[in-house]
């Protein structure tokens, strides 16, 4: 499989580490609700189709990427940074 890293260009998937569902993993709950954390840590949808997932370019730029991959064909339709540094949540 080949992943087009927005920073490094197209690279072999050997260079990457995959973590899983990007939307689920980055939606960390705030507060004390154990149920919400249970959902966050353990519950995942195993879907057949377009999946947004987190890949880490460990042997490259070390950026976490959101790779949109069709789980049925491994076809990758989109790759973006998981974050744009300096934007988003305030400290």
């Amino acid at each position: 499989m080949r992943i087009r890293c927005p920073y490094c260009g197209e690279r072999s998937n050997d260079e990457f580490y995959v973590l899983g569902d990007a939307d689920a993993l980055t939606a960390r709950p705030s507060g004390e609700n154990a149920e919400a954390f249970h959902e966050y840590v353990y519950q995942r949808t195993n879907l057949a189709g377009l999946h947004r997932e987190l890949w880490y370019h460990s042997n490259g730029c070390r950026r976490w990427l959101v790779v949109t991959r069709d789980t049925r064909t491994h076809e990758i339709s989109d790759v973006t940074y998981a974050s744009k540094r300096g934007e988003g949540e305030a400290a």
């Binding site: 499989m1 980055t26 954390f37 840590v41 987190l54 064909t73 491994h74 300096g86 949540e89």
Partner: protein
């Protein structure tokens, strides 16, 4: 001996270059340009091997990589290689080949008796015959079957050759160097596109080298050579001969095996035997050609029965003939060509049998004038002869059976496109009734298929298809392909009417030659309910041999379809998986074998440790100094104990460079650390170090280490050696994925800094001798947990941390990796009169157990901070990863397994990690299991065996006694549960 042999003229062989080789110890000779198969035929060999299951005599069926029969052992000694297709082996001087699966000899094989009791070994025999008693399977039946049914023998010794892996990128990958592939490559290449043409043969041209067809009025082989020469001369083209594209993978990635030195006896120095290619191609053009189908009739496996196209290859390309009296059996026009070519080479044609009553009278051309017997609407029902063909029985249109003497039979059941690579990503071939054959269905992204692989069997159509695909690929890259005129070639449509099975002959009619599957087996499977192609395949093993059923699949499923009275399109076909042809494990491994399986990491202090005679141990990818033996010491324990005593009484130096080190900078660095550690770091004063524990989000401990603050916005984190990579990734995830708004940057500095611990009551005195005078490291100026950037040895940058793992007054000193060895040597010299000694991983491990520090055995992914006695570190004032789920009731239950110390009641008794904790007097059962021993050591300081363990109830069990039961090693030792800090429990020594 048969009448096979070399023709006096012709062929694309170099008669000026004779080549010596041997087969089963017999010296033979051939010519450059021969394959082993053609050279064997030239030497009159027709019996080449014995079949897998029935040990039937077998000859050569094909002239290519689809060969199911002619499998030989190549080479000798450590280079011996079984199951090599003689039809694909390029002849070389000194080649040694042996026939296989025969005993005692190829001519007389005792196990050929299997052939006489064939009914016993029919479809599904594994499942039916050896059901009972179950114990017999492993001990009796399987070894028996394995010995009786088999292929070649592996070398049984390490392969002395090297294998390489390479990567290549191109615009267009053309797979197959026949007419369609050459035309496609030429068109794309002339447009300027970067082209790779991979062809499994050593001579480009495909069928053009095997046929007498003309292109532009000259021999097709000449056109092929001209095109190949032009391609070779172009800088944007890589023409890869002897290279099989064997797999298609996601993202337009193709795997290919280049047989760099399979055509020489021993690879030249520093050259690989084979090279594995990973090819990234924006477009691919599959021009793999087609495979001829055998005809299925009784004894169709007799040596001398050969595919018609193979007969033409041997006659036209190699100038050898499988016999002097040839018969042809065909159900298509194409088969007749074998008779025409053979006749032109002066071989006697005994008969042409065409199963089609309507076969055109024009077929065969001049043959009629030569007094050749021609049968239309007739079938060969049986081959006669055992070790070589002697005659065939023909049933003519009126049903009359006659016998025709011949020593070779060319058969053609029509051609099937090679769709294998189109299926590797799941594409299912579709049935084309007019061919009749399966043609490519859904294609891998970026692939197009041309020529015979796409069902275009006529030469002119192949060339046109190749040109169009090459031009189309070029246009995809914005290049314009010039409109070079299409070469002129034959465009005769060839007709075919399928003939799947000829019944009525006595003897097995083979469908799968390599796995000995007959038409009867297919029928039996169908009657027993195995009616899908997948089940048929598994039940009969049809198509499961090393040839993946290249010559058998279509015949097999066509026979199944006829048994089921269903159209072939409904029955469908199984999908092919990589590899297209067998690939040696050596090629897949490349250089990654033995010690080179993965990289070995050496610490920047490796040379220092080596100088002091360290014994190294593999720890992950690292080589770490384990202990430093001295003369007279009898084992590691004696050495490590001496090192511990040196540290506890004087001073020692050890290498801790393998710890993960992460530099974290930015205004929000403290905030990030607060969120990833369960304890607080934002309050840490500049110039201070603090021990930290990280949890996973599920509440269990992930890692621990010391993090120091060098400036308000600058921290240096250490992680455990094993988790160095994972923690870096985790921090980046936390930052980029969870809190991208934090203004913080981090980078791994594990490789940039050499780090050593200087530990013991005399460590300060030692260090003071190398630290530059302006830096005061007295206890008052540099108390416990101080962390500062200093200089040593007259200006060398260093970072000094007053932290202790050993429990003694101790420091860790980090210096740039390049000066690590020199600094360590300087410290050793400075401490000589103070009794400094190097110490290793074993001594470090003993001292951490004496101090009750947790390590990988305790931070095992199943323990919480509370379990490890670190619960007080969990901040209540801030959010951090793992905080909420760590509070789940079960993770705070009082009976959870918690960390304790363990002391055998008899202090001399050695205890072992892994022993389970069982109450005194209770049965040794899982139900009574209280926990287990995680780490043990002989403590030189306490002069007794001690251990750490996890026990239900944790600290509440202090003072009680348990049994340490190790059923694997047969020990049962009584021990007292105690506090895990065995040595200096008040921690006074590290403040010294």
């Amino acid at each position: 001996m048969s009448s096979a042999g070399r023709l006096p003229t012709g062929g694309r062989i170099d008669r000026a270059r004779p080549i010596k080789f041997s087969f089963d110890g017999r010296s033979m000779s051939g010519f450059a340009g021969d394959t082993l198969a053609s050279a064997l035929i030239a030497n009159g060999v027709s019996l080449v091997g014995r079949s897998f299951k029935y040990h039937r005599p077998r000859g050569i069926l094909s002239a290519g990589s689809e060969e199911p029969n002619a499998l030989v052992e190549m080479r000798a000694g450590a280079r011996r290689e079984p199951n090599t297709r003689a039809t694909s082996v390029e002849l070389f001087d000194g080649l040694q080949a042996q026939s296989q699966n025969r005993w005692p000899s190829l001519g007389f094989d005792i196990l050929a008796l299997n052939g006489l009791v064939g009914g016993f070994l029919s479809a599904g025999f594994y499942y039916k015959t050896f059901m009972w008693p179950a114990a017999f399977w492993e001990k009796v039946y399987e070894p028996l079957i394995r010995r009786a049914a088999g292929l070649g023998r592996s070398a049984g010794a390490e392969d002395p050759d090297h294998y390489e892996k390479s990567h290549a990128h191109c615009d267009v990958l053309v797979i197959g160097g026949g007419p369609a592939g050459l035309m496609a490559a030429l068109t794309a290449a002339r447009s300027g596109a970067r082209v790779i043409l991979a062809d499994e043969d050593f001579l480009p041209g495909g069928r053009l080298n095997a046929e007498r067809q003309e292109i532009d009025g000259a021999a097709g082989s000449i056109w092929a050579a001209t095109v190949a020469a032009e391609l070779s001369s172009m800088p944007n083209v890589r023409l890869m001969r002897r290279t099989t594209v064997f797999g298609v993978y996601d993202g337009s990635t193709y795997a290919a095996l280049e047989r760099v030195n399979d055509h020489v006896a021993v690879p030249p120095p520093f050259q690989p035997r084979q090279r594995m290619w990973r090819i990234y191609a924006r477009r691919s053009i599959l021009a793999a050609g087609a495979l001829e189908r055998p005809l299925v009739f009784a004894n169709n496996d007799r040596p001398g029965v050969m595919l018609a196209g193979a007969v033409r290859s041997y006659i036209n390309r190699f100038a050898v003939t499988p016999g002097q009296r040839l018969a042809v059996f065909t159900c298509c026009d194409d088969g007749w060509q074998a008779a025409i070519d053979a006749a032109a080479a002066g071989i006697s044609i005994e008969a042409v049998i065409d199963s089609r009553a309507e076969a055109s009278p024009a077929l065969g051309g001049e043959l009629g004038k030569r007094d050749v017997r021609i049968f239309r609407g007739a079938e060969v029902i049986r081959a006669v002869g055992s070790r070589g063909l002697q005659a065939i029985e023909v049933r003519d249109a009126s049903g009359r059976i006659s016998s025709i003497l011949c020593d070779a039979l060319a058969m053609s059941g029509g051609w099937s496109p090679i769709t294998h690579l189109t299926s590797h990503l799941g594409g299912r071939p579709v049935w084309n009734e007019s061919l009749p054959a399966f043609v490519p269905g859904t294609l891998p992204s970026g692939m197009s298929v041309v020529g015979a692989a796409n069902g275009a069997m006529a030469l002119a159509r192949s060339l046109a298809g190749g040109r169009d695909a090459g031009a189309s690929a070029a246009r995809d890259f914005g290049r314009s392909a010039s409109d070079a005129p299409l070469p002129k070639a034959d465009d005769e449509p060839a007709t075919v009417r399928a003939l799947w099975h000829v019944s009525g002959g006595r003897g097995p009619a083979f469908v799968d030659f390599q796995n000995d599957v007959t038409a009867k087996d297919v029928g039996l499977a169908s009657r027993e309910g195995y009616r899908s192609v997948e089940l048929l395949k598994r039940y009969t093993t049809l198509g499961m041999a090393t040839d993946q059923g290249k010559t058998s699949n279509v015949n097999g499923l066509a026979i199944l379809a006829s048994e089921l009275a269903q159209p072939i399109a409904t029955v469908g076909t199984t999908l092919n998986r990589p590899p297209f042809t067998p690939v040696s494990i050596g090629a897949l491994a490349g250089h990654h074998r033995g010690k080179d399986f993965r990289a070995t990491r050496l610490s920047p202090l490796h040379e220092w440790a080596k100088t002091h005679g360290a014994v190294f141990i593999e720890s992950g990818a690292w080589l770490r100094a384990s202990w430093f033996p001295r003369p007279g010491e009898k084992d590691w324990l004696e050495s490590a104990s001496r090192e511990v005593r040196a540290v506890r009484s004087a001073v020692g130096l050890t290498d801790v460079s393998t710890l993960g080190k992460i530099d974290i900078q930015g205004p929000d660095a403290g905030t990030l650390l607060d969120r990833v550690y369960c304890n607080t770091f934002s309050t840490l004063a500049v110039g201070k170090a603090r021990y930290g524990v990280m949890l996973r989000e599920d509440g269990f401990v992930m890692d621990d280490g010391t993090t120091s603050r060098l400036a308000t916005d600058h921290f240096v984190m250490t992680t455990t050696t094993a988790n160095a990579v994972g923690i870096m990734r985790h921090l980046e995830f936390c930052h980029q994925g969870l809190w991208p708004g934090l203004d913080v940057q981090m980078t791994s500095i594990s490789e940039q800094w050499a780090q050593m611990a200087i530990a013991g009551p005399k460590s300060r005195e030692t260090l003071a001798r190398i630290v530059d005078r302006q830096h005061d490291i007295s206890d008052a100026a540099f108390p416990y947990l101080t962390a500062r950037e200093i200089t040593i040895l007259g200006g060398t940058r260093a970072r000094l941390f007053r932290i202790s793992y050993s429990g003694e007054l101790a420091y860790e000193l980090a210096v740039p990796a390049g000066v690590g060895n020199a600094v360590a040597a300087a410290i050793m010299e400075a401490g000589t009169d103070l009794g400094i000694q190097p110490y290793g991983l074993e001594a470090m491990g003993i001292m951490r157990i004496e101090k009750g520090h947790v390590a990988g055995s305790e931070i095992n992914g199943q323990t919480t901070a509370r379990d490890l006695g670190l619960g007080k570190m969990m901040s209540k004032k801030k959010d951090y990863i793992g905080r909420v789920l760590a509070e789940r009731p079960a993770l705070a239950a009082p009976d959870r397994w918690g960390l304790v110390g363990l002391k055998p009641v008899d202090w001399t008794t050695r205890i072992r990690a892994g022993a389970h904790l069982i109450p005194i007097g209770a049965a040794t059962t899982t139900a009574n299991d209280l926990g287990y021993v995680t780490s043990v050591a002989f403590s030189p300081s306490l002069e007794r065996w001690i251990g750490l363990g996890l026990i239900s109830g944790g600290a509440s069990k202090h003072g009680t006694r348990v049994r340490l039961v190790d059923l694997l090693r047969g020990s049962d030792i009584e021990a007292e549960v105690c506090d895990p800090v065995f040595y200096d429990p008040k921690g006074e020594r590290l403040h010294g």
